[in-house]
Symmetry: C2
Subunit: 557 residues, 2 copies
């Protein structure tokens, strides 16, 4: 930072800090009549939503929540979760979004580590809590959430709980003057599971959430990377709200007072029903969910052409992109991490790319998108030196911006490792084109070094996805005496292909691309094993660590 | 501000400050092929633009400009001015946009007060500079700008000048690594002339310009208050770039890498030609300019239906709004001050207002717009107490937000007066509706107190604008023994109406609205005087101070 002349400020002058409450205030400004829905169970407009947010804040205040205290939430994707997204940070407290897919032991670790004081929990997750409750060291109050109240069924509140969410809200005042405070105030926290050690706590300030929302509105509404305008668009997340703030879109949709639909627990039939009946136009999800919706009975008859879907979490394969585009679904790909709030990039088709055929567009849409507004990405080699953004040189993606976690909570060494040399290290290996497209090659730990060449396991998985009969695949590297490392693949077949597709026919299919020069011959896996299931992590990604360890014997047998 | 828990930061972590260079970086990210034009003289794409911005920074660096130094610019609306908007702040220096309509004595005051070190000046303004040059106390270097270089004509560089802009740019390197620095760094300054005393210097930081751009992109692209998307839209300012950063739109258009057209000196025929040939879709201007374009020969034949125009500076009258809408031009109104960077509000038609007839829309479009995103407006009475936003109670508009000047430069008393009680006082009296429409009643000093009632001079001018034959009017209050104050009007007639319209016929026309109950009887001016011209300020607003002083004898005679 160089020294410059700062603006003078007269004593009484005010400059608004960047706070989540300012995003919330927007939701009432122009179109408060628009609706927020939960499944087919509950709907309200933004006036009611704002009242409920304040009722929740008053309820938490009454239960002793003070600025700096942490409130943990276990819930499906719901309007209640959205209320927590605003009420908890706006009162100066910290929202801890619990990953309900973690093991009880991991959840226990996270809750004690985060020092959760109050817990809001959906009854479906009570067994998870029950398993660890006796070992929780900081939790003082528990509030129960149940869908039964919307169906006029009786709710059974366990002993020792404060009560049930809806009943408690009703008794609380809907007036709450959210205070001003430092924009660097801690707003949210959640845990990311790596391949080694305990889960790591990332955290974001009000300013970071505000700026992430500014990046999104600039990219998707300004540039229209993924056109989204509240007058016509309807938003429905199909990424859990505990998964990196559902990628930040609930804050954007609320700020723009767009109609929002929360699907609760994911049920393909209900998702399809909400999509069509509520005229949903924008969603985001992992590839697995999109596959699920596309394959759902009824999808073929439904008009899905107004639907725009952003795929993240795992790479969008060409096979899936094409299948979706052929149904009229506009698919886009995004890239980011828990550490990056998360959006770093998103598909943006330039003036000259928008008119391409579906086949040609697939090439662009399956990349990891183009660098998002206000994000600074740099490829670095192992020594931290810049690698050219020429579209083919590979380097580790490192990042700077306005919404990156500034460390891992209470983990000084891992924090410095993450930010070594002043750039946040993503652990992903990629190429960047001169026009800012990101092509992810691999996780740094998953990239396969064969014969001195870096071989991308993702690229091989992508080629495999285009072989007829293959539903899913995972490629990992194993040591090889001659080449250093060689790729090996696990493959799951589509129903009806068992017996028809074998390791040999797959290799033959890949060889065709070798012959045409599309891939190098060393991309063809040494061994292809057909299995019925591939291990996944709690957020639905391929679990390569598990594959390498547990599946080693299977692959190398 | 309450105390909260701030996010911890590991030593090596970085968080990007909000800087103008981050907006500039966006212009190269996705669509660098789009163009920036200057009249019919010059066009370039964003790649060239970015190179020229860096050449300009190198040129200024070579001439001794350091962080914190001030560079003054005298120019018509040009691509060069846009280059100054970025190059000067991005190198850590301060851009002083000179209001070329001020008197030489005022310009001298401003330049010495701002401590301008380097001056960039279009040759058309040399006489202005010549008149004060000998009394300038801080200026060290002068760079000449001329349009002749684009016409292959010889440019005559005066003795002692550094040289001519284009030739100097050519010799400078196009590589400049704009540094990081504190986001509260002073970026721009300019002077606003009040009714008393010396011009006052307002100033804005990088963070404020960044956040103003975020407010605009959220409002016009996100909510589509005035739909603007760089894929289809073309921007042309017709507000001088020295007038509050041309309302901030050049920063927005550059960030979005939209096609931009700079019209230079305003010539109605050329503006119309640029509008149609370059397919301009978004402009902003004062009412006078819109009237000029509409009345230009050729306007009737031209297809102006893709044109969206935001009117500010003075109120948009119903007469002008209707005339424009009938030509297919979408007119919008904005409101703001020099002190507010400037946008505080802008027309936003809700879901249920967009489908109204032209006549019905005029009612909404001639209001001062609805409160812009992230802006907090409050009506206050004389004691600083809040006045309800009920659509009819009048109060002074006071404001807080992220882009308000934090004082007047070297004017501690006027700075505290502006920010008394922690709210910036606009000096405007208004009502605010429950759905956030602003209805400006008057300047606090122009409001007329008749019989204990506040009478809005603007409201009377608006009614006068709808009387057939009236081109323009100004209403001021004068003391009255019985009523305290009473309104008096100056009126300019349209050509061909001389003799046909008189003070009496105008009064009769207003009486009709009294009879129907649309206005109170005390709104009819005591005296209406027909004149050929009404005094204006340097930025084209009605000069009520001058009207009251100089015209007193005429009105009261």
């Amino acid at each position: 930072m160089i020294a410059t002349k700062l603006i003078p400020r007269t004593a009484s002058a005010q400059e608004q800090p960047l706070l989540v409450k300012t995003l919330l205030a927007q939701s009432l400004k122009y179109e408060p009549h628009r609706e927020i829905l939960y499944r087919d169970l509950f709907r309200m407009n933004y006036v009611t939503f704002n009242q409920r947010v304040r009722q929740l804040a008053n309820l938490l205040l009454a239960e002793g929540v003070k600025p700096g205290d942490t409130v943990a939430v276990f819930d499906w994707d719901s309007h209640r979760y959205l209320e927590c997204f605003f009420a908890i940070p706006c009162m100066g407290a910290i929202l801890h979004t619990i990953n309900v897919r973690l093991s009880p032991a991991q959840i226990l670790y996270c809750m004690n580590h985060a020092e959760d004081k109050v817990v809001i929990i959906h009854e479906d997750f009570l067994p998870l809590l029950e398993a660890v409750k006796s070992q929780l060291t900081t939790v003082e109050k528990i509030i129960l959430v149940s869908d039964k109240v919307y169906q006029n069924q009786e709710v059974n509140v366990p002993d020792g709980f404060v009560g049930e969410y809806e009943s408690l809200l009703k008794t609380a005042s809907d007036q709450y003057n959210f205070p001003d405070f430092d924009e660097n105030t801690w707003a949210t926290t959640f845990y990311t599971t790596g391949t080694t050690g305990n889960p790591k706590g990332v955290y974001f300030s009000h300013r970071q959430l505000f700026m992430h929302t500014m990046g999104l509105v600039t990219y998707i509404s300004g540039y229209e990377a993924v056109p989204f305008h509240p007058t016509n668009d309807v938003y429905m997340p199909i990424t859990p709200l505990f998964h990196v703030h559902a990628w930040g879109f609930p804050l954007l949709a609320t700020m723009l007072s767009a109609k929002q639909v929360y699907p609760g627990r994911y049920e393909p039939d209900l998702i399809l029903k909400l999509l069509t009946e509520e005229k949903v136009t924008l969603s985001h999800c992992v590839p697995t969910i999109l596959t699920m919706v596309i394959n759902c009975p009824g999808a073929k008859q439904a008009d899905l052409s107004p639907w725009k879907v952003i795929i993240g979490g795992s790479a969008l394969t060409k096979g899936l992109a094409k299948a979706a585009l052929e149904l009229g679904i506009q698919v886009y790909a995004g890239y980011g991490l828990s550490e990056t709030a998360p959006v770093l990039s998103l598909t943006y088709l330039s003036d000259n790319e928008r008119d391409l055929s579906i086949d040609e567009q697939v090439e662009f849409r399956t990349r990891a998108g183009r660098i998002a507004p206000f994000v600074d990405l740099q490829l670095q080699d192992d020594d931290g030196q810049p690698v050219p953004h020429d579209g083919h040189s590979l380097g580790e993606l490192t990042v700077r911006g306005s919404w990156m976690t500034q460390g891992y909570y209470k983990e000084p060494e891992r924090s410095e490792e993450l930010w070594r040399n002043g750039w946040m290290h993503t652990g992903d290996v990629a190429a960047i084109t001169p026009d800012n497209w990101i092509i992810i090659a691999d996780r740094t730990k998953d990239v396969i070094k064969s014969g001195g060449e870096w071989v991308s396991s993702l690229a091989i998985e992508n080629w495999l996805s285009q072989v007829e009969g293959i539903a899913e695949s995972a490629v990992v590297g194993f040591p090889d005496e001659k080449w250093g490392e060689r790729p090996h693949a696990l493959v799951v077949l589509k129903p009806d292909y068992a017996g028809k597709v074998t390791a040999e026919t797959i290799k033959t299919a890949l060889q065709v691309h070798v012959t045409t020069g599309e891939i190098n011959k060393w991309y063809v896996p040494d061994r292809i094993v057909i299995v019925t299931e591939i291990p996944k992590t709690s957020v639905g990604k391929l679990d390569k660590k598990k594959i390498r360890s547990e599946m080693k014997s299977l692959i190398l047998s």
